[in-house]
């Protein structure tokens, strides 16, 4: 048998056998959803519909219904786009990069995090489409043979984005669904009614757990992870090119790609924590998503959060060191100008607050982590707001300086994407297994309390 280090705490607590794992994870799918679930779904769906109505309103009356103007052409819409794409980075990071690094704790959270990725990217994709103004002509961004014999501009980062986001959404969806096939097979075999069995058999593609299928499945997962790992890094790199290749002070910097990627993983993990701390409780999965898992995620938060902090300070230093008047002004204006409040919210939430995680007590404290994760979500939204709005609002020509405030239409559309995100998430937790069953079982022998025997040393107890 494999050697097991006794120092490492178990990934699955509470003496769970393979049968218990199946039972616990399938339980939310088999059970009748509670009142709270219907209330959550109902509220999300209503908010989503209001958002969709406001999208319709925008298309009908035009972008004039928004607060954007000639100076600040990219308002909340692009801020929200970058924010949602960033959140969509944790899932594939967990399932691809952590798979390549053989991080076993990934197995308990990768399914839900990947689902979250897909939903977040769907929310993100909405914004550039709406912002183009004439949504019915949205297909103009695709290179297709047309009567004007024109092609799209392959030199533009905005077009690279089209390819990057589309590829990311499709490949994440493929990776996620391929992982789901065996688990959907498990659900099919646990279902009692015939029509449910048929539906889940259809969804599971007729999975039967044959050794040959598993061998191909594993080989495919590894290659998909290898393909998805650079893909994750490329997506936010390309999003950062939208800014970095322009000649706007505050945008035109070479540190943007790594700075954006680490910021994306930072905010993505914050969102995973926000959701999982609630989900593990609501679905009774505390033995699978343990405090140890939360601590591991918090370690990634502190690593990426520190990179983001260094990037902010590097930006400031380079603005001063470059000696470029415009560059210097852009950063002075960020920190001390009319949008200074946004800059300092960003600094507090993203640079100072994650540093508290150096304390082990706080890393393992769920209530603290939950609050902190929301702080980071807010901070990362303000980072994008600061980058987009404060860099634009005072440009080279003082006569065209302006301020920007969103209208209720923009606010409602942003809220609407939350509605869309949570509607999809609520449906997901009742239809699909929230935890990658087969993967958790495959690490159980080396990491579950039942197989590890008696705990050597009790870790600090769970605080709720």
């Amino acid at each position: 048998m494999m050697h097991v280090s006794p120092v490492r705490e178990p990934l699955i607590n509470g003496e769970k056998s393979y049968k218990d794992i199946t039972k616990d994870v399938v339980a939310p799918v088999r059970a009748k959803p509670g009142k709270l679930w219907f209330v959550g779904l109902g509220i999300s769906a209503i908010v989503m519909l209001i958002g969709f109505a406001m999208i319709g309103y925008t298309i009908w009356f035009g972008i004039g219904t928004w607060g954007v103007n000639r100076t600040i052409g990219w308002g909340w819409s692009i801020t929200n786009f970058v924010w949602w794409v960033g959140i969509g980075h944790a899932g594939t990071f967990i399932s691809a990069i952590l798979l390549l690094f053989r991080q076993k704790w990934r197995t308990s959270i990768n399914r839900a995090a990947e689902a979250m990725t897909i939903f977040a990217v769907m929310c993100a994709g909405l914004f550039p489409l709406i912002h183009m103004g004439r949504l019915p002509l949205g297909f103009f961004i695709l290179p297709y043979p047309n009567t004007r014999e024109l092609w799209v501009n392959f030199n533009s980062p905005l077009l690279w984005d089209v390819f990057a986001i589309t590829t990311y959404l499709l490949v994440s969806l493929l990776f996620w669904y391929m992982g789901l096939i065996p688990d959907l097979g498990t659900i099919r075999d646990r279902m009692k009614t015939l029509w449910k069995k048929k539906v889940y058999n259809f969804l599971s593609f007729g999975w039967k757990g044959s050794a040959r299928h598993w061998q191909r499945h594993e080989s495919m997962s590894l290659i998909l992870a290898g393909l998805a790992a650079p893909l994750v890094l490329s997506v936010h790199t390309i999003v950062s090119f939208d800014f970095a290749t322009s000649v706007i002070p505050g945008w035109h910097t070479t540190i943007f790609p790594p700075y954006f990627v680490s910021g994306a993983i930072f905010s993505g993990f914050a969102m995973v924590l926000t959701l999982m701390i609630v989900t593990r409780r609501a679905l009774n999965l505390k033995e699978y998503i343990t405090v140890g898992h939360v601590e591991s995620m918090n370690k990634i938060i502190i690593a990426t959060g520190s990179i983001v902090g260094i990037a902010y300070i590097t930006e400031l230093f380079m603005a001063w060191y470059s000696g470029v008047e415009y560059e210097r002004y852009a950063f002075m204006n960020r920190a001390l100008g009319p949008y200074a409040w946004a800059y300092w919210i960003m600094m507090t939430c993203n640079v100072i607050s994650p540093q508290l995680l150096w304390f082990k007590k706080l890393r393992r404290n769920l209530a603290f982590t939950f609050v902190l994760s929301i702080f980071i979500n807010i901070g990362m939204w303000f980072e994008r707001f600061v980058i987009v709005v404060t860099s634009l609002h005072r440009d080279y020509l003082p006569s065209s300086w302006a301020m920007y405030k969103p209208t209720w239409v923009e606010v409602a559309i942003y809220m609407g994407t939350f509605g869309l995100f949570f509607t999809l998430f609520f449906i997901f937790i009742r239809v699909f297994p929230v935890i990658a069953l087969a993967e958790v079982k495959s690490v159980a022998r080396s990491s579950a309390r039942k197989f590890l025997g008696k705990p050597i040393k009790k870790q600090s107890s769970e605080k709720q």
Binding site: N155, P157, L174, W207
Partner: protein, 173 residues
């Protein structure tokens, strides 16, 4: 009519031992079904390595090449447009789209190849012998087809390895 004999274990280590035991007796194993990929089973069953990585490689090669050449064609032959005096053939700016298409085609060609090769897909009806295989049963299936032993001999051999609940059915295949 060919008989199929099957039984299960509840521990993957017992399964691995049983596989080896049966193989030492010269019995061919038709299939092994498990709830999760068991470490060491591929080697024990002497399964050939999957060709899926090669499919992904070829898919990626096709995607990348087509993507790159399409962009080059558009900007040099299709409709060369002057963007601020920049060169028509600006290879560095074609890299992002080329990369994305490489990944996209590689991933999907492999995914589709996996489903086709494993005969899985929407509407595929599996021949499930034991529903607990997707829970905690590790099942060994022996077939009369590729063994010279009779049905009763196969049942005995499988039961001798410690397999639980050994059953036999007559299958068409």
């Amino acid at each position: 009519m060919r008989a199929i004999v099957y039984g299960y274990f509840t521990d993957e280590l017992d399964l691995l031992n049983a596989v080896k035991e049966l193989q030492n007796k010269g019995i061919r194993i038709a299939d092994v079904r498990t709830p999760f990929p068991v470490h060491g089973l591929d080697a024990a069953l002497k399964l050939r390595r999957s060709h899926l990585p090669k499919v992904a490689f070829v898919g990626g090669l096709i995607g990348g090449t087509l993507g790159l050449f399409f962009q080059v064609w558009v900007f040099t032959k299709g409709w060369p447009l002057n963007f601020g005096g920049k060169p028509f053939l600006s290879l560095p700016s074609f890299i992002p789209v080329t990369f994305e298409l490489t990944v996209l085609i590689a991933a999907f060609s492999m995914g589709i190849a996996f489903l086709l090769r494993s005969n899985l897909g929407p509407g595929s009806i599996p021949d499930i012998l034991d529903e607990e295989v997707t829970d905690d049963h590790f099942q060994i299936i022996l077939s009369e087809k590729n063994n010279n032993l009779s049905e009763t001999e196969l049942v005995e051999a499988l039961a001798a390895t410690g397999a639980l609940d050994v059953k036999h059915v007559n299958a068409e295949k």
